[in-house]
């Protein structure tokens, strides 16, 4: 095995590890609404979301194409060490926000990390500013606002239709509905988020010369492994963030949960269709806040929502900074030594963070 192939293997493993943390970190957002309204028990909701995340990864490749072709120029990157450093930036930021219980965006962390490492390694010419603006930044601004509006309008319409009925049967009905809307949201999440990892691995294969940069093609093993990693990450949970999303932003009834999930699923699926790599965290948060504000503006805990906005604003530059620094560190060593050392150091730091977090852990909800 050549040194370049060894770095490729490290990048693929790291990308799948990122996919796992993405599932672990983000999918809590997907199931929180169903859990908060008691439409599903936490364990059933997480298992259900894992299965649908896996299925969702197979239904489109538009987002993977965007990540592979429209963020950085594959022909300008000399080595996969750059992608490795970008992934380190994304994973480090994901774990830091997980540690502090902030639902920030894994997707923006990934793109920020890769852009930061590419900037340091290959300069500004290798970063595709137009693609990032058109396919990442503009949709990143529009999507949560759109989800907010859809969630708010949907809940207002819903209350107009069923508002005078007895609450018991209405709540039961929307709880059944949430099984479907929650499933759709999980499917949408798998579609958009698993594809980002597929895009990174495809990009690595192009840089290594295994695939052509001219014709975009994602190998089947890449789709299956990315789908499996995000599904496993989802199943592993992320109880702290479930708590933040499910109850600390807003206390919801089942109709609000249905509207929020419907808004989130519609925005993510529509965006995935056009290849926009969205943050599912941003979108579902927008939907949840919209469904809350549509009922009563003061019902939304705007302080918690404000903390999330701060995390979102910080995500791209922070992940880019870590990605850039990670590249500088790996570049100090020859060949594959840098990635191996950094991966080993990363594993130790992750183990320490997880052990500390578990010691002070919030017990997993039961049921």
């Amino acid at each position: 095995m050549s040194e370049a192939d060894l770095i490729l293997v490290i990048v693929v493993v790291t990308a799948l590890a990122f996919d796992f943390t993405n599932g672990f970190h983000d999918t809590a957002n997907v199931v929180a609404t169903s859990i908060s309204t008691r439409a599903m028990s936490p364990r059933v909701a997480v298992g259900f979301a894992a299965v649908l995340n896996f299925a969702g990864a197979f239904i489109s490749l538009e987002v993977a194409a965007t990540v592979a072709n429209d963020v950085v120029d594959p022909t300008a990157i000399a080595s996969n060490t750059v992608l490795f450093a970008g992934l380190v930036g994304a994973i480090a930021w994901n774990l830091a926000t997980w540690y502090f219980g902030l639902p920030s965006s894994s997707s923006h962390a990934l793109i920020g990390g890769i852009v930061g490492a590419t900037l340091v390694a290959a300069g500004t010419d290798a970063v595709l500013g137009d693609g990032i603006l058109a396919k990442v930044l503009i949709p990143a601004l529009i999507a949560p606002v759109l989800a907010f509006i859809v969630g708010a309008v949907a809940i207002v319409c819903c209350y107009r239709i069923v508002g005078r009925q007895r609450p018991g049967p209405v709540t039961r009905g929307f709880r059944y509905g949430q099984v479907v809307s929650g499933g759709l949201l999980a499917l949408a999440h798998g579609t958009n988020d698993a594809q980002k990892t597929m895009g990174v691995i495809t990009l690595a294969l192009i840089i290594n010369g295994n695939l052509s940069a001219d014709s975009f093609e994602v190998p089947t093993w890449v789709v299956v492994s990315a789908a499996s990693a995000i599904a496993l990450g989802t199943y592993s949970g992320g109880w702290r963030i479930i708590r933040t999303m499910g109850s600390r932003i807003i206390k919801m009834d089942a109709a609000q949960g249905f509207s929020a999930q419907g808004a989130g699923a519609a925005v993510i699926l529509a965006s995935s269709h056009f290849g926009f790599p969205l943050s599912t965290t941003h979108v579902i948060s927008g939907g949840v806040m919209g469904a809350g504000a549509g009922k009563r503006v003061s019902a939304v805990r705007w302080g918690v929502a404000g903390n999330m906005v701060v995390a979102w604003i910080l995500t791209l530059p922070a992940a880019a900074l870590i990605g850039g620094l990670a590249y500088l560190v790996t570049d100090l060593f020859p060949g594959a030594v840098g990635p191996i050392l950094l991966a080993a150091l990363g594993l130790i730091l992750v183990a320490i963070a997880v052990a500390r977090r578990l010691r002070a852990a919030v017990p997993a909800p039961t049921g």
Binding site: L133, I161, A266
Partner: protein
Amino acid sequence: MTLATVIDTTALWQTVVFAFVAGVGTTIAFSFSILGFTRFAEANRNERGGQAAVFAGLALLGLLATAAAIAFGVIVMTGK
């Protein structure tokens, strides 16, 4: 170079319109089905057969519209 030359405004608009119609439309359709089921149960309890049939129809129509919207969305996604 203007912003409009970089951004695919058609795709963005289509995303906004599709997401709005799908998100709000599905919630409205499902709300009508719940209204139908709730009123059907009441009418049935009070032995008002005609009214019960109308609300059962509304409930089924709402459910069918919801299912059709979801199926359409998934087919469009997988069709590309």
